[in-house]
């Protein structure tokens, strides 16, 4: 769920564009450096963008009965870092506006700040904190994804609150109101999205672990350990 076209007043559209622009520029510079080092990354980044786009177009079943979509940026943050995720996320948001009519052009800056900057920064912080510890990689993935999702919606609520402060209580009242309404679906959704991505990692670890090794997402030992843990126990007659 993104802020739709025309919802924010023009001055706030400008402010959020100004916040997003340095991150986009940093992302393009980092992308250029990455491609100079190894141009094989371009198609891989492209298919990652397409993957995030399709994921966000799919409806994720939510516990409250409503439907919403995963942001998918947690996975990209772990694979490529914050700035490149900003670029991929920005492209995905632009395509969502131009191909699915979700979001918009004037509010693209605000949507980039919440989904492609704020969420990934929080997710990346969790990832760095847990990466080299003994915490199971599936729990790390669960936490990164859930935190990135929740922070995305906290920032969206903040963007709406500063644009429309309450008559009584100001920005704080407005923020708590918007977030309380989002929380009904977003807290269960963040948990479900965390579970979904932990399971997605299970499939990647079992079927194509070299992706994670190539990108340095987790060490070989961690992947091997997770792979062994995920192996199905053979039936009794085979074991004997």
């Amino acid at each position: 769920m993104h802020i739709m076209e025309g919802f924010l007043p023009p001055e706030w559209c400008l402010v959020w564009w100004a916040v997003a622009l340095p991150f986009i520029i940093m992302g393009v510079l980092e992308l250029r450096a990455l491609l100079r080092k190894d141009r094989e990354y371009l198609p891989l980044l492209g298919v990652c963008g397409a993957f995030i786009f399709i994921l966000s177009a799919l409806k994720l079943p939510s516990v409250t009965g409503s439907c919403s979509h995963p942001t998918g940026t947690g996975l990209s943050t772990m694979c490529f870092g914050v700035f490149i995720t900003t670029v991929i996320g920005g492209i995905v948001l632009l395509f969502q506006a131009l191909v699915l009519a979700h979001g918009g052009l004037s509010v693209l800056g605000a949507n980039i700040v919440s989904m492609a900057i704020g969420g990934p920064i929080a997710g990346y912080a969790v990832y760095r904190l847990l990466k080299n510890t003994s915490v199971n990689i599936f729990i790390t993935v669960f936490l990164v994804t859930a935190v990135a999702d929740l922070v995305t919606y906290i920032i969206t609520s903040f963007e709406l609150a500063v644009a429309y402060p309450a008559q009584v209580g100001g920005i704080m009242t407005s923020f708590t109101t918007f977030f309380a309404i989002f929380a009904v679906t977003q807290v269960p959704l963040a948990i479900v999205e965390g579970c979904v991505f932990a399971l997605v990692f299970k499939y990647i670890v079992q079927l194509k672990p070299e992706i994670l090794e190539k990108l340095g997402v987790f060490s070989r030992d961690q992947i091997e350990k997770a792979r062994m843990a995920g192996e199905p126990v053979p039936p009794a007659e085979v074991r004997s």
């Binding site: 739709m4 076209e5 025309g6 919802f7 393009v28 992308l31 250029r32 491609l35 141009r39 371009l42 198609p43 891989l44 980044l45 492209g46 298919v47 990652c48 963008g49 397409a50 993957f51 786009f53 399709i54 994921l55 177009a57 799919l58 409806k59 994720l60 079943p61 996975l75 670029v87 991929i88 492209i91 632009l94 395509f95 506006a97 131009l98 191909v99 699915l100 009519a101 979700h102 918009g104 052009l105 004037s106 709406l160 429309y164 309450a166 008559q167 109101t177 309404i181 479900v192 579970c195 979904v196 991505f197 932990a198 399971l199 997605v200 990692f201 499939y203 079927l207 194509k208 992706i211």
Partner: protein, 267 residues
């Protein structure tokens, strides 16, 4: 499961051959005017006129257009209802106290703000839809090249765009196979099926990316993705109505600003 991709509509409408610069000028111009307009009247008029243009001369199927328009409607209505109770000032229009110490109030200022936001969302969204439904993304990529967007970014967008359709078909096939096997019957099964779908989608997208690297390498890929630009000539027949419409909207803004206070409250 997946929403209709609007780009297929953009490939078939009657404005397909109009120069993309003209369409962008009209769409972005009206979007900006609707965004900064001081009164709800301007975005309302712009939204209605552009909607009629889309359904009429552009031959966009009304049902498709209706569905696109209804997309942001739910979020808009919920948000505007919240705004009605939050913002405002002036005289109280409606008050409701379900229990002591708590009351919901709608003021005159909130109604004015709510109507402005509602009309602005309508006007801006229709301006965006005008671009989306008449201009295919491939035309926009060529436009981006002309305004010197970094080439790496455009290449990344083009590859992403190409792979959206491949991943879309694959996701659809897996989804239908899972639904046929009652994969989304219970919440726990739904989460498991969705994870399986996402995992397979990621792995096969990655494989497709690796195949693309090999295919591009064997065709002498040197870091630049050349594409053929088929620019349609700019025609006065389309530019003049666009300029006139934007001038009309600016004029309307001027009239609203100069109108006496009494009239302002009405419009």
């Amino acid at each position: 499961m997946l929403e209709q991709l609007l780009d297929s509509v953009a490939q078939q409408n009657a404005f397909r051959c109009v120069h993309p610069g003209t369409k962008l000028f009209l769409g972005l111009g009206s979007l900006l005017i609707c965004l900064v307009a001081p009164s709800p009247l301007v975005p309302l008029v712009s939204g209605i006129v552009l909607s009629l243009v889309l359904i009429g001369p552009a031959h966009i199927p009304p049902v498709t257009y209706g569905k696109v328009l209804l997309g942001p409607a739910v979020f808009t209505v919920i948000s505007v209802v919240i705004l009605l109770f939050l913002v405002g000032g002036g005289e109280v229009v409606w008050q409701f106290s379900p229990f002591a110490g708590f009351s919901l109030t709608i003021t005159e200022g909130a109604v004015r703000e709510g109507v402005l936001v509602l009309c602005r969302v309508f006007g801006c969204s229709v301006s965006l839809f005008f671009i989306v439904l008449t201009t295919p993304l491939t035309d926009l990529f060529n436009g981006m090249k002309r305004v010197r967007v970094p080439v790496e970014l455009i290449d990344l967008m083009m590859i992403t765009y190409r792979y959206i359709f491949i991943a879309y078909d694959l996701a659809g096939e897996i989804w239908r196979a899972q639904v046929m096997r009652l994969g989304y019957r219970r919440p726990v099964e739904a989460v498991r099926s969705f994870s399986m779908l996402s995992g397979m989608l990621f792995i096969s997208s990655w494989n497709a990316g690796e195949d693309l690297v090999r295919a591009m390498d064997s065709r002498c890929y040197n870091g630049v993705f050349p594409s053929l630009e088929q620019a349609e000539p700019v025609s006065l027949r389309s530019v003049i109505p666009a300029v006139l419409f934007l001038a009309f909207l600016i004029g309307l803004c001027g009239v609203v600003l100069m109108a006496p206070d009494g009239v302002m409250t009405v419009i």
